[in-house]
Symmetry: C2
Subunit: 142 residues, 2 copies
Amino acid sequence: MEQRLSIVTLGVADVARSRAFYEGGLGWRVSPASNARIVFIQLGGMALALYPSAALSEDAHVEGGDAPAFRGFTLAYNARGEAEVDAVLAQAVAAGARLAKPAARAFWGGYSGYFADPDGILWEVAHNPFVTIEPDGRLTLP
Amino acid sequence: MEQRLSIVTLGVADVARSRAFYEGGLGWRVSPASNARIVFIQLGGMALALYPSAALSEDAHVEGGDAPAFRGFTLAYNARGEAEVDAVLAQAVAAGARLAKPAARAFWGGYSGYFADPDGILWEVAHNPFVTIEPDGRLTLP
């Protein structure tokens, strides 16, 4: 098994509503491979997919059910500076996201806040002075 | 906001147990930026993080609680062929994963199965003949 991740698929309540948030609100380009049932968005060398939550649990052969308040994972967008953290959180809120945690100084030396997308999926928006964001957007760990 | 994802953070019950699965079981290299509290793994241009679930929900200012049977998302590893799907699922099960769905022909024309990691986090292992996996592991959508 190679050391990589290909796709993060978010189980959503309404694919059209989620597409409007990511495409119209955040301004991300949607792949032409998308349709009314599933949306694909290229994110660097991997992809984000938006798919009905009930269909996703069925496909994985697990019990579905209502989305919990906390799904047990977060996605993170690492910004190039603190001003970009504020700008991205403001853009997400203008696009209909809920500000789950206003940006604040973090105990680990960075600056971070969270927004929740239309399904309550949490995105951390952070500036971490110890992590490198390459010009093309790739993140490089030590 | 640029079109990219920096980090997927999995809220886990036991960081040491999860590290043993991903590092010892799947054979992935852990970043030296890791410690007993949090583990970072470079995956292409982004990173996977393993962090205690209770600390993650607290950091995001959301209600925590026990992990649901279905967390509402899946991660996917796209393989280069059907034989690699079988091999990766076998490797994950040997490392302690639960085979949530045995590999089978999928309605969309591919071949796919799922394993659940020690916290029940679902990884789809799939061969999709319509998606390109570059030599360096990057996924390219149409």
